[in-house]
């Protein structure tokens, strides 16, 4: 007799492995100096407040929300840059797909310039590129969007620090305690390994989890390259309703 496992049911979340994430204070990334809490975090087993979370239906999206090449354009002109499809699967730590969850993304344009009033980099704006988009995962946890490859850009941290090309991601999951923001990098980019923000993560194999793979199979011929970026959210321990001594 085997136990019944309810995916995403009443089980507590696995504790977050804080050594796998960047610590709050990472001196190489100077902005953390005054923004990192110094007290230890207070451990709080999950209550209903942490194990529930908001949900978002497909109906709340516009058709162009996952097309950054077109979604800002006023007249149908397309954004300039290397055309990409970025896609992947949102999973939990038990390797179960996370369906129907909101994934949001934002990025600089092909020249490495953000559309923001505080941005001072000299690379020009692209009149047809806003830089934000979103998707809701399908029943198997997959999202996808079309964009242009963001440029690398310099930033005021050290004397001459550059960010590698990257796309910011925000993911919900189904519990507020799964909430995650991260950044995706591109396979083979030598800039990844000299970035102080990437370097806030100590474990090289954790960094490797942030590097999207070129996927020749899913390229669109004569149109766009494809990169795959899977995202793993915290998982829940299974809740067993019958005794089961073997592992599950």
């Amino acid at each position: 007799m085997s136990g019944i496992i309810l995916p995403g049911a009443d089980g507590a979340l696995y504790p977050r492995n804080r050594d796998w994430h960047p610590p709050a204070n990472t001196p190489g990334y100077k902005s953390t100096t005054f923004r990192a809490p110094k007290h230890a975090l207070l451990s709080l087993g999950g209550t209903a407040s942490e194990l529930t979370g908001p949900t978002f239906g497909h109906s709340s999206l516009n058709p162009l929300d996952n097309d950054l090449i077109r979604n800002y354009s006023q007249d149908g002109s397309e954004a300039i840059g290397q055309r990409l499809i970025v896609y992947g699967q949102v999973l939990d730590e038990n390797a179960r797909p996370v369906p129907e969850t909101l994934v949001e993304f934002w990025q600089a344009n092909a020249g490495g310039r953000y559309r923001h009033r505080k941005e001072a980099y000299l690379a020009p704006l692209d009149p047809n590129f806003g830089g934000c988009g979103r998707a809701v995962t399908d029943e198997n946890g997959f999202y996808s969007f079309r964009t242009v490859k963001p440029g690398a850009y310099p930033w005021p941290n050290g004397g001459n620090d550059w960010r590698p090309a990257h796309i910011h991601f925000s993911v919900f999951g189904h519990a507020f305690a799964q909430r995650l923001i991260t950044q995706m990098y591109f396979e083979g980019d030598p800039m990844i390994w000299q970035c102080p923000i990437v370097g806030s993560i100590a474990d090289k194999s954790a960094i490797d989890q942030l590097i999207a793979r070129l996927d020749r199979h899913n390229t669109t011929p004569m149109d766009a390259l494809a990169y795959r970026f899977d995202i793993v959210l915290r998982g829940r321990r299974s809740t067993m309703f019958e005794n089961k001594l073997e592992g599950n």
Partner: protein, 206 residues
Amino acid sequence: MLHPVPTLKETPSQTAGPYVHIGLTPNFAEIRGVYDADPGSTMLTEDTKGERIIISGRIIDGSGAVVNDALLELWQADADGSYVAPMGPNSNSAPAFTGWGRQPTNGEGVFSFETIKPGPVPGPDGRPMAPHVNLWIVARGINIGLQTRLYFDDEAEANGKDFVLNKIMDPRRRLTLIARKEDGAVPRYVLDIHLQGDKETVFFDM
């Protein structure tokens, strides 16, 4: 009970960076026409039950400067103390209250949510927790989102019994989570969030 070992590792966090508003509140960031409205900018509808309130405050860093590039999300129960049941994937009828809000801090480091006062939610032992909202904060210089709670100072008796507040050993630090009520046409609960320093807010690992 045996628990399985997770087979995958959680994707590591990275800072939301200085331009998180582009991605999560584009209309506030003056990127118009992509989304009809910024997600979570409005929590209330005419049909929402409960006492209308405003929750606001500032985010302040360890040097005493206000943090004007942060983003907060709020997750709370409804007036009866229930978290709203998930919407169906293709549902067209949004519930009268979703419980979720998202707001940027403005140039003065101020955030503000128009919402309702939540009811008490059962804790793990079945006893009610004091009314509270859950907050999640990201910004440039924050490597992993900060999780905390906001309680209400006119719920002193419930706060005194709240198992989360009582987990905070130093009673003075409990006060970093309790918002001060200011009366008005719509009552306002005010709490400054200190990322660092003598008044550092209690943040949770949950």
